[in-house]
C-alpha cells in the first residue's frame, strides 16, 4: 500500500475518533511542548545574554581593567573577598601607564560612576547612573545622539560641567522643551546639557536609559571618582584577535608596573563579557542537560499510551483487517498501515506540541522579561521525535495485526 494512502487513512481514523486520539497523543504532546518551550527560552536567553546583556554591560570586543571582578559566578569565599579588598585600586596613573605602554591599537576610556539625583526646574530624577568618562566612551558604547553632541576632548581636559543625558532622564526632566543648553544640577553643582542619547531600551525589564554622562574631570568627580581613583579602565579592541593580544599586553604592563614577581597572582582583574556570561552558561547547561531526561520520560510514557491505544485499535478493527487481507493485503501492507497510523497519531501530537511550545515561548516573552526565541532545530527535532516515537510504539501492535489469520479475523466481532 502506498504510504500516502496509509497517512490519509490514519488521519481519517484520527478525525473519526477525536477525543480518544487526543488522549492517546497527549504524552507526546507534552514531551514536545517541553522540548520546544525550554529550548526556546534557553536559546532566547542565550541570544539575549550574548547580544544584549554582555554588550550593554561591557561592550563588543571590550574588556575592563578592574580591581576585582564585578560579575561573579559560583562561590566567592571570605578569603577571596578579603584578598580582593586589599588590592590597590585602579588609578588615573595606572590608566595613563597602560595607555603609554600597550602597543596594540585599542580605544580607552577611563570610567567611574555612581547613583545621583539630577534636578531641573524643581523636578528631580532620582537614582540616575552618573558616569564620568572620556569622549571615546560614546564610540565604545556605540551611543547615537538624538540631539546635541558628545563632549569634546578639550572640555574633558578643562573639566567643564557639561552633560550628555539618557533619553529617560530627558523625558523626566525636560519633556516638551529643547534640552540642549538647559542647566541642570547634580550635588548642587550646575551642569549644562549638551546632548541626548538615543533610547537604548530595557534589559530584564530594567531601563538602560537612566544615565547621564560627564567628563570624568568635571566638578562632580569628587563624588564619583575620588582623588585619582577610577572604577575601571575600559579597553576596546577592533576584533576578538586583537582583544586577546591587548589583554596580554595590559596584563604584562600592569604586572611590571606593580612589580609582581613571576608566580605571584595578579592583584588586578581583566573583566570580559565572557566572564559575565559564565553564570548564565552554567544555568543553561543544567537546563539543556535536564531537558532530554524530562522529554524522554514524557515521550516514553507517550509511546506506551500510543502502543496501548493501537493495540485496542487493532482488536477493535480485527474484522477490517480480515477484510483487507481477503482483498489481497499482504502482511507488510497491514504492518505499514498500523505503523503509519501510529506514527501519524504521534506526529499530530508532536505538531500540537510544537504549536503549544511556541505559544508558551511567546507567552513567556510577553509576560516576563525573558526573551524566548524559537530555535528552528528544535522544531525539526520535535517532528522527528514524533515520527520515531509513533513508529516504535506502533511496531508491536502493527505486527499483531499483520500476523492475524484472515479467516479468524473475518469471523471476529
Amino acid at each position: 500500500m502506498p504510504w500516502l494512502e496509509a497517512v490519509r487513512l490514519a488521519l481519517k481514523t484520527i478525525r473519526a475518533q477525536k477525543l480518544k486520539s487526543f488522549f492517546s497523543l497527549i504524552g507526546v504532546l507534552i514531551g514536545v511542548t517541553f522540548l520546544i518551550a525550554v529550548v526556546s527560552i534557553v536559546t532566547g536567553m542565550n541570544n539575549y545574554m550574548e547580544d544584549k546583556f554582555a554588550n550593554a554591560l561591557i561592550g563588543l570586543n571590550t574588556f575592563q581593567l578592574r580591581q576585582r571582578p564585578n560579575f561573579t559566578s559560583g562561590n566567592v569565599t571570605d578569603d577571596m573577598w578579603r584578598e580582593w579588598s586589599r588590592r590597590p585600586r585602579i588609578s588615573y596613573d595606572d590608566a595613563a601607564y597602560i595607555k603609554a605602554h600597550v602597543k596594540t591599537p585599542v580605544v580607552y576610556a577611563n570610567f567611574c560612576s555612581d547613583r545621583a539625583t539630577v534636578n531641573y526646574n524643581g523636578k528631580a530624577a532620582k537614582d540616575i547612573e552618573l558616569v564620568g568618562t572620556e569622549p571615546t566612551y560614546f564610540d565604545i558604547k556605540n551611543y547615537k545622539l538624538t540631539a546635541g553632541r558628545p563632549f569634546a576632548a578639550q572640555e574633558m581636559q578643562l573639566g567643564l560641567p557639561v552633560l550628555v543625558i539618557g533619553s529617560e532622564v530627558a523625558e523626566k526632566l525636560l519633556k516638551g522643551v529643547d534640552p540642549i543648553g538647559k542647566e541642570v544640577t547634580m550635588y548642587g553643582l550646575p551642569y549644562r546639557v549638551i546632548g541626548v542619547v538615543e533610547r537604548q531600551g530595557t534589559l530584564f525589564g530594567l531601563s538602560l536609559d537612566k544615565f547621564v554622562i560627564m567628563p570624568f574631570t568635571a566638578p562632580a568627580r569628587r563624588w564619583i571618582c575620588p582623588i585619582n581613583i577610577l572604577d575601571h579602565l575600559i579597553i576596546q579592541a577592533s576584533g576578538p584577535g586583537t582583544m586577546t593580544i591587548a589583554m596580554g599586553e595590559v596584563e604584562a604592563s600592569m604586572r611590571t608596573r606593580r612589580h609582581l614577581k613571576p608566580g605571584q597572582e595578579n592583584n588586578f582583574f581583566l573583566q570580559t563579557s565572557e566572564a559575565a556570561l559564565e553564570g548564565w552558561e552554567k544555568i543553561s547547561k543544567i537546563l539543556i542537560t535536564a531537558l532530554p531526561l524530562l522529554v524522554s520520560i514524557s515521550l516514553i510514557v507517550g509511546g506506551i499510551v500510543i502502543m496501548n491505544i493501537m493495540l485496542m485499535s487493532v482488536s477493535e478493527r480485527t474484522r477490517e483487517i480480515g477484510i483487507r487481507k481477503a482483498l489481497g493485503a499482504r502482511r507488510r501492507d497491514v504492518l505499514a498501515q498500523f505503523v503509519v497510523e501510529s506514527a501519524t497519531l504521534s506526529t499530530v501530537g508532536a505538531a500540537m506540541g510544537i504549536a503549544l511550545g511556541i505559544a508558551l515561548a511567546f507567552v513567556v516573552r510577553a509576560v516576563t522579561p525573558l526573551p524566548a526565541a524559537v530555535a528552528p532545530w528544535s522544531i525539526v527535532l520535535g517532528v522527528v521525535v514524533g515520527v520515531l516515537v509513533g513508529m516504535v510504539a506502533g511496531i508491536y501492535p502493527a505486527n499483531r495485526a499483520a500476523k492475524l489469520d484472515p479467516i479468524v479475523a473475518l469471523r471476529a466481532e
Binding site: 500500500m1 502506498p2 477490517e320 483487507r324 501492507d333
Partner: protein
C-alpha cells in the same frame, strides 16, 4: 469441459481442537471449468465454508492438492497467497464485509489499492464496477446509508473490480429477503452470461437452481455432483 480453472484432489482440512481433531474436509476431489456457474450445497457443518476458504486461498489445506489456473497453491507463502487473492479471487460474503466508515467507491477501490493501481485509475475502474451492478448513483454513500441488497451489490462490485478468475460467494443471499435475493441472482446471471466463473454456497434450493451445476457436501465429502439447468441462463 475445457482445461479446468480449478482442480482439487483429495483435499483434506483438519482442525485441532485440544485433544480432538475435527475433520472438516475428508478428501474432496473436484474440477471446475472456466465460465462454470457452480452451487455448493449441504447441511450445516458439512464443510462448505471450509471448502470456499480453500478455494479462495484464505486457508491452506491439511492434505491434498489444489491447482488454480495451473498453479499449485497449497504450498504458497502468505504473501503469495495474498497476491493470488488480490488478482484471481473475488469474494462476496453473507455479511457483506464492507468497511463501515468508507464510501461505496472507496470500498470498491480497496482491492486496487493492494494491486498498486494509481488513484486516478482506481477511481475510474471502481466507478465502472459500481455501474455494472447498477449503483452508479450511490458512490458516495456509506454502507449504513444503503439497503441490504445495495450493500451486497457494492460487495459484488468490489469482488469484480480486479477482474478475478473466479467469483466466490458464501451464502450471498443469506441475509437478504427473497425479492432482494432474486435481484442479486439476476446480477450473478448477468455476470455469468458475460463469462464470469462463479462458485456460490447456498442453503436454498431455489438459489442453487440458478447455477448450472450443483455439488452437495456431506460430512466433508462430495455426496452428489450433477448438472442443473440454470433457470436464469
Amino acid at each position: 469441459m475445457s482445461e479446468p480453472i480449478i482442480r482439487i484432489r483429495d483435499l483434506t482440512r483438519h482442525y485441532e481442537m485440544g485433544t480432538e481433531t475435527v475433520q472438516a474436509l475428508r478428501g474432496v476431489s473436484l474440477d471446475i471449468g472456466r465460465n462454470e456457474y457452480l452451487a455448493i450445497m449441504g447441511p450445516s457443518g458439512s464443510g462448505k465454508s471450509t471448502m470456499m476458504n480453500m478455494i479462495g486461498c484464505l486457508d491452506t489445506p491439511t492434505g491434498g492438492e489444489y491447482w488454480l489456473n495451473g498453479q499449485e497453491v497449497s504450498q504458497l507463502s502468505d504473501d503469495q497467497l495474498a497476491r493470488v487473492r488480490n488478482k484471481e479471487i473475488g469474494f462476496v460474503f453473507q455479511t457483506f464485509n464492507l468497511l463501515p466508515r468508507a464510501t461505496s467507491l472507496h470500498n470498491v477501490e480497496l482491492p486496487l489499492v493492494y494491486a498498486g493501481v494509481s488513484s486516478r485509475e482506481r477511481r475510474s475502474r471502481a466507478s465502472a464496477a459500481l455501474g455494472r451492478v447498477g449503483l452508479g448513483n450511490r458512490m458516495d454513500h456509506r454502507p449504513n446509508e444503503l439497503s441490504g441488497g445495495q450493500r451486497q451489490r457494492v460487495a459484488i462490485a468490489r469482488a469484480l473490480v480486479n477482474e478475478p478468475s473466479i467469483l466466490l460467494a458464501d451464502e450471498p443471499t443469506g441475509n437478504l429477503d427473497s425479492t432482494t435475493s432474486e435481484e442479486i441472482m439476476q446480477v450473478f446471471a448477468e455476470l455469468h452470461r458475460q463469462g464470469q466463473t462463479i462458485i456460490m454456497v447456498t442453503h436454498e434450493a431455489d438459489i442453487a437452481a440458478h447455477a448450472d451445476r450443483t455439488v452437495v457436501l456431506r460430512d466433508g465429502k462430495v455426496e452428489t455432483d450433477r448438472a442443473t439447468h440454470g433457470v436464469a441462463a
